[in-house]
Symmetry: C2
Subunit: 747 residues, 2 copies
């Protein structure tokens, strides 16, 4: 309806507009900055350099390695160097052209190979070998298990970096309020973590910062805490004492957002001839770009999450996160799961072919079961994994179609299968993963609820509204959820790790049931009824069972105020999942429960052009229970399409470390014409602790399309693409290589 207010829509009296001058070099020393001409431009109110920014280092994750504005050195092309505030966006951008920065270009490390060269300079002083983070673990006895395996297979996969592609680029309005607090209205997945980060980076007490989420036009992991936008907006507001709006244009958003982490994964699996996985050894080299952000946490997920799908007890991992002089990478929907699952699902397909097995059988035979504890100590409460595989294969007539001859035409079809799991929350930010919901009843029976978790389009607010309406037996329109604001909302971690349905959903149920119990006690007294005789009435309120003696929510709300010891009706409850923080060896049941899924795709490969067309997709999603079928179908489809983009089209192109395709014309996301009709079902496993049995949806759906497509390409034309994206060039080259290989064999 066009009514939603995004942060960029805000107009605050006296508001200035910000703009940022960015480094054109991947690595350079800042020799000098001359801001005088920019400052002299009428309408310009501030021109700030690194000298005007705090000396505190900030970081989206635990590693603090970045300044709000570069000091002395720039480490990637796009890094924030000078910030301007002016009375209009045009003037601010004009001022950028008047700033003279003298750089001394330094050698840039543009690949992890260059960065890991023992002779290479360091991206950050003191960061030996340019390693930002390491993850190493070994459980069971991997070498012994490989020795006993019937088939050991090793291959290396590479994944490219994906831009989140939300329609709303990052934007903030920051204002120093009358009480000297910095108020930031912004596009975010988390108000509390954003507040803590802004406060720390700007050297303010947490209580001196207020963050209000505005309608957020997509996040996909990119709006957690890795942007510099909120910090520059805040800095400009502090220095000018005027409200400042800072809106990335699309190119700026490409340059400054955290795209997904590219990984090189060398995977070695051992299997019995029956397809039982007995050992896994993996080496990961992940590229965080110039600043670590959340990339270490992403690599953590790549390292271990998918191990928990299977019963295999022998796993070893050596993962290194490496700094390069490229734009930073970080959190992205799927959070590292996609990278490893591309390798793992491709690998299973390859090994199944080697062993003459149906890959579906391998998933079936290795699947972790409900009640099992995994190799990493995860407790599986419910799983529809086998059912998802069965559904996804049955839906495409898997066995029959796979058995049919592929033909010899120019265009050949193939089927691919992949499977995945995801968490529903993650107790890894500290020893809490809970959520709090507060409920008030207005005098007309209207329900006002507060929850600090953010909706960035995934439907969290609708889901909570549904739960509350359901618990009170009222229409959705009677429930209003207030937007997250650090002043008014209870403390909340925010929307990531697919945690909101689980934690906030359960908190909402708990708060509603507390409220209902309170209403029943109140009604007992007012209706002079026996406790056991009362029940919640349809449409809200309480009635004596089987009679028309009834009090509406409005009457109860008023009666709760207007009495001795009365007060406005309010209830607050928190639900914290029964999970544990992983120990120093990363062992521990960090998620309350897990979502599983499987996906089959059918592709057609044009053997003359190398073009891969996805003809069909079927995704079977164990989300516990579909609370909002329309919304979760949308999430499944959206995740699937985003994964198809990553698999086939999307790729940040760097030239000398500079993003060369930072716009929607050149950075080709999947469009309607490249997407077939998508099919999906829900496997409702009715999780024992999920709200009404629900688990997470959405993130699971992005994890499988890439390997399913790669597997289908192999199925169609017999070539294995292990490097994303699966471009026509790569397919053609592989077909050519295969032809030469066959020719050589025949010769």
């Amino acid at each position: 309806m066009g009514r939603a207010k995004y942060a960029g829509d805000l107009k605050v009296p006296g508001m200035l507009h910000g703009a940022i001058l960015r480094s054109p070099y991947a690595h350079a020393r800042i020799v000098s900055i001359d801001t005088s001409a920019a400052l002299a431009l009428p309408g310009v109110r501030a021109v700030l350099t690194g000298d005007d920014a705090p000396n505190t280092l900030w970081g989206g994750g635990p590693v603090k390695d970045r300044y709000i504005l570069a000091k002395k050195v720039v480490r990637f092309a796009g890094e924030e160097v000078v910030a301007v505030a002016a009375i209009s966006e045009d003037i601010a951008r004009d001022a950028l052209d008047l700033i003279r920065v003298e750089y001394e270009e330094l050698p840039a490390l543009l690949t992890t190979d260059e960065a890991m060269d023992p002779e290479a300079p360091t991206v950050h002083p003191g960061r030996k070998d340019n390693v930002a983070h390491e993850i190493r673990f070994h459980r069971g006895d991997v070498d012994a298990a490989f020795a006993k395996a019937d088939l050991v297979y090793e291959a290396t996969y590479t994944t490219s970096s994906q831009y989140p592609g939300y329609l709303e680029p990052m934007v903030s309005v920051a204002s120093l309020e009358a009480d000297d607090r910095l108020h930031v209205w912004t596009s975010t997945q988390t108000v509390s973590l954003a507040r803590a980060r802004i406060a720390k980076a700007l050297e303010l007490p947490i209580s001196s910062v207020r963050v209000s989420q505005q309608t957020t036009g997509g996040g996909f992991g990119g709006k957690i805490v890795e942007d510099d936008n909120q910090l520059v907006a805040g800095l400009l507001a502090l220095r000018t004492r005027r409200p400042v709006r800072l809106l990335n244009n699309r190119l700026e958003d490409f340059l400054s957002c955290c795209t997904s982490v590219p990984e090189r994964i060398t995977l070695k699996l051992g299997m019995t001839r029956e397809g039982i996985i007995v050992a896994k050894d993996v080496r990961i080299v992940a590229d965080c770009g110039a600043y670590a952000g959340l990339a270490g946490e992403v690599m953590h997920v790549s390292s271990m999450r998918s191990d928990n799908m299977f019963r295999n007890a022998n796993v070893r991992c050596d993962a290194e996160l490496v700094y390069t002089n490229t734009p930073p990478h970080g959190a992205f929907r799927g959070f590292g799961g996609s990278q490893m699952l591309f390798a793992l699902n491709s690998h299973i397909d390859s090994m199944a072919r080697e062993l003459g097995l149906d890959p579906a059988a391998i998933y079936e035979r290795n699947a972790i079961g409900a009640g099992d504890t995994t190799v990493h100590g995860w407790k599986i409460r419910s799983t529809g994994f086998k059912q998802c595989v069965a559904n996804a294969t049955a839906a495409v007539d898997w066995a029959a179609k796979r058995a049919a001859p592929r033909g010899t035409g120019v265009r050949r079809r193939g089927l691919g299968l992949a499977a995945a799991m995801h968490v529903c929350g993650n107790r890894t930010m500290g020893n809490w993963d809970g959520s709090t919901v507060a409920i008030k009843l207005n005098e007309d029976g209207g329900i006002v609820a507060q929850c600090g978790e953010c909706d960035m389009g995934q439907g969290a607010m609708t889901m909570l509204t549904q739960i509350i309406a359901n618990e009170f037996k009222v229409p959705l329109s009677q429930v209003r959820l207030m937007p997250p604001d650090t002043d008014s909302a209870p403390y909340a971690l925010g929307s990531f790790a697919s945690r909101v349905t689980m934690s906030a959903g359960n908190a909402a149920i708990k708060a509603c049931r507390s409220a209902r119990a309170k209403l029943l006690v109140l009604a007992e007294d007012l209706l002079q009824a026996d406790p056991g005789s009362l029940e919640l009435a349809d449409g809200g309120g309480v009635q004596v069972r089987g009679t028309d003696r009834r009090l509406g929510l409005d009457e109860l709300a008023r009666a709760h105020i207007w009495r001795h010891g009365g007060e406005g009706f309010q209830v607050t409850e928190t639900w914290d999942p029964p999970t544990e923080e992983p120990d120093s060896d990363l062992y521990g049941n960090c998620a309350p429960t897990h979502s599983f899924a499987a996906q089959t795709v059918e592709v057609e490969v044009d053997t003359e052009t190398g073009q891969v067309t996805v003809l069909g997709s079927y995704l079977s999603d164990d989300l516990g229970k579909a609370l909002n079928p329309t919304a979760v179908h949308g999430q499944a489809n959206g995740g699937c399409v985003q994964a198809m983009g990553w698999a086939l089209y999307e790729q940040l192109k760097l030239e000398d470390g500079r993003i060369a395709n930072g716009n929607f014309a050149d950075y080709t996301m999947a469009t309607a014409e490249s997407v077939p009709l998508l099919h999906a079902d829900f496997v409702e496993t009715n999780d024992p602790i999920g709200p009404y049995g629900a688990k997470a949806s959405s993130e699971t759906a992005i994890l499988m399309a890439a390997p399913a497509i790669a597997n289908a390409v192999y199925d169609a034309v017999g070539v294995r693409i292990r490097d994303l994206p699966i471009t026509p060039e790569r397919v053609l080259a592989a077909l050519q290589a295969k032809k030469e290989q066959q020719g050589a064999a025949n010769a």
Copy 2:
């Protein structure tokens, strides 16, 4: 510092500006309205008449007798007839000039005498005798008591209407938000009652309205729920679907605010020769103007509150609230107490003189005591009444100065005394008079508190901040009180009846102590300490008594989140006073406790000009305990000056029912040059249920200056002025009459 944001300062994108065309006639039929020329003016977005307004009647009090825009009939000069919204305030006002309204003037009832004439037409159809409200009670046996009294004295007093004179005229910004709710930012003393009223008048559910208080530049009772400003702003926003700002200019504010209720009080008291009051009979005719508003509640207070100062058990009251075709009157600081206390204190002075007693002795001999239950069932928990009288008289050397000869010069001096009581809350809006305070701890130990009571300059927010800071042993700067907003704040009645210090203050203490108890339990665990060994630390936090083992509030706040079953630290508590709703005979202990006060003034009367100059004032205020001495001194001084204005200068002048002096040049409020150095003390009775012993301040201070001045004028020149204001003309006329009387007597 100029940083506070008033509602008039708000600039909302797309905001229109409203303006109102008002009736020039005191009473007329609206024959026709031609809005076509106004609508054609470029920039005009809406021109609304009564036909565009809801048919629901609204009223500030229980009587609903008013439309948002007049329908068919206007009942006072100034009534809202047409509302315009335009892109600028200038255009909106220009448009008013283009509207053609044809009126048929009707006979106007401009005085209560005219309105009470049995032959008079009715101001409202069906309102027999133009009586809007009646209060009648009789306790004890008044006639029998009069029969036994040594002195029975009767006289009639009239009081004039006072404009509240806040510096910020009434203003609202209303906006239909994305969720179709009407958001009203306004200058108000109560967000919850404003919301309920706006919703009802605009025929919306309560939950579809949100009210946010902006910084409020004075209220003095005039910003409770009697304005039409919020309603017209809301109507314009609903009809235009654009934000609308509606700011009264000063004349409009004079025309449309509720000025204080003028009363004619015929008071008859019986006393023994020792000055013991044995019977009181009072008749009140109060003028509510064209619409009843809260004037009935004001008259209720006039009728009975001051009875509770004394032990007299025989009281009778016949009070009538009468409609006239004059601008409405209603709530005003002191809320009806001022009117009756003018009569009562004047009367006591007269009778004391008749009996040859010191009036101070009369207060002393009749004073209600702590532990007493009054004639109306009020339970007196604490009283410094006698001490206040003793202090106020001692401070001016009362006995000696009164005994000294008055001299015969042109300018003669005199002393006057008056005393008063006031409530600290009032359980008369329904069976609740409580308040709720919610407290959150941020991760840095900052405290965020929410309370829905409004600060309109009286210092409520500072008082609550002080209490919370004191309870947590932290500096004031560590506590932030959020401004009242119906979405985020707990339900609260608002700021009137001097209820906030008592109810919200106690709720704040209760919430803090709950929070402290919770912190101690948490710290026991974290510090592994015995329960008895812990105490609150200075600067916040918890320590093991006598050691340096200590956890700061920041550490405790974080530890409260980061643990199994953790959550953000939050506590909500309500305090509802142990009072009762008055019964149908208006009997019952409606207030938790009571403030008492006495005041002496010294005046100089110029016998040639009639000019009365106040030379000194001493106010002794039993406020229980001064929580913020600077603020309550300010309140005492402000109340005293406002009362001096009412006593000597202020008077709405009506010509044909039209306010003729609706500006600060012609409506003469007391200015610095007319006010002497004001002295005041606090009698700290340490009330048993007040927060830290505190009771209400502020309203008590406005109740005494008028009678104290009238009594001082009598003391100075021997004339009794029973009609306010005590203008030079009235004094001169009285002196003249006295001279003639003396002449006649001498002749």
